[in-house]
Symmetry: C2
């Protein structure tokens, strides 16, 4: 960053990085992760933890955890620089792949845990349904139907996330 062409250019990059932080913040991911990715995205060459840390003025611990997270999402990749034992990272510039890994996998995880809960409730409701006396049967049936409907919708969302067609739309 320090060897960039002009102060104006540096300022523009800083604003872009700040935007990245703000964006991830608005999605509840914290701002560091967006800043790190934006920085690496604009950097013409791979950067190591200390460079990132200094540029963003955040703790090394944050950078370490954040970079790990980004790596799991295939948003950044590890790069070895010969004769240097530090870890260097560079950004994945293909946003399509990034979204596929990060957004979709995160979504799937959250939806999955929600699904497990719903199914658990649904099965224990089947037991409860048997004990209901005939007078109140109809009311209980409504609840059962709603639960079933919720589960079916969840399956549709899951199918959408797995649908290869989604990739083509990006």
């Amino acid at each position: 960053m320090k060897d960039l062409a002009s102060p104006e250019l540096t300022a523009a990059c800083r604003r872009f990085i700040e935007s990245g932080g703000h964006t991830t913040q608005s999605f509840g991911l914290g701002q560091v992760i967006g800043q790190v990715f934006a920085l690496l995205y604009l950097s013409p060459r791979p950067m190591c933890l200390d460079e990132i840390m200094e540029e963003l003025a955040v703790s090394k611990a944050s950078v370490s955890m954040t970079v790990r997270q980004l790596e799991q999402w295939s948003a950044v990749k590890h790069v070895w620089v010969k004769g240097d034992r530090r870890d260097f990272y560079e950004a994945e510039t293909d946003f399509k792949a990034l979204v596929r890994h990060a957004v979709v996998s995160t979504l799937r995880k959250k939806i999955e845990t929600a699904a497990v809960r719903i199914e658990s409730v649904e099965s224990s409701l089947q037991d409860a349904l048997a004990k209901v006396d005939n007078g109140k049967r109809k009311e209980a049936k409504v609840v059962a139907d709603r639960l079933k409907h919720a589960r079916q919708f969840h399956q549709k969302v899951n199918a959408l996330l797995n649908n290869p067609l989604l990739d083509h739309l990006l």
Copy 2:
């Protein structure tokens, strides 16, 4: 809720409501909003603020704000009960419409503000680019290209959110 068929059924509903709260919590929306919707979703008849408040054991202020939010997303709708001046609400059972309004509109809003920032940076970068001396021109060009690439991707996402095909997939 209190007039439900059996204790087991009530317990199942409570667990479903808890799941709803946990789900919205995991998306950074707070748990009350998920609980309110889940409660209304299972309720066989519309409910007023006090009933919701008592059932979930949260403050009336929370319920009021939350219901407003859900209404903006078309997740619940206002219902008038004759001879009762309280506000009653019932859940929208069509999840498709719900997702369309809530998720997509929220996403669009966030992406939009991100886009505004990027474009602002991009334009001020055009000015900076002009002042760069020839020696460093190439490096600055890389930054400009990356920014352009980011903006183009944003446009694709926007197009996807507006794509009517998305509705058919749900």
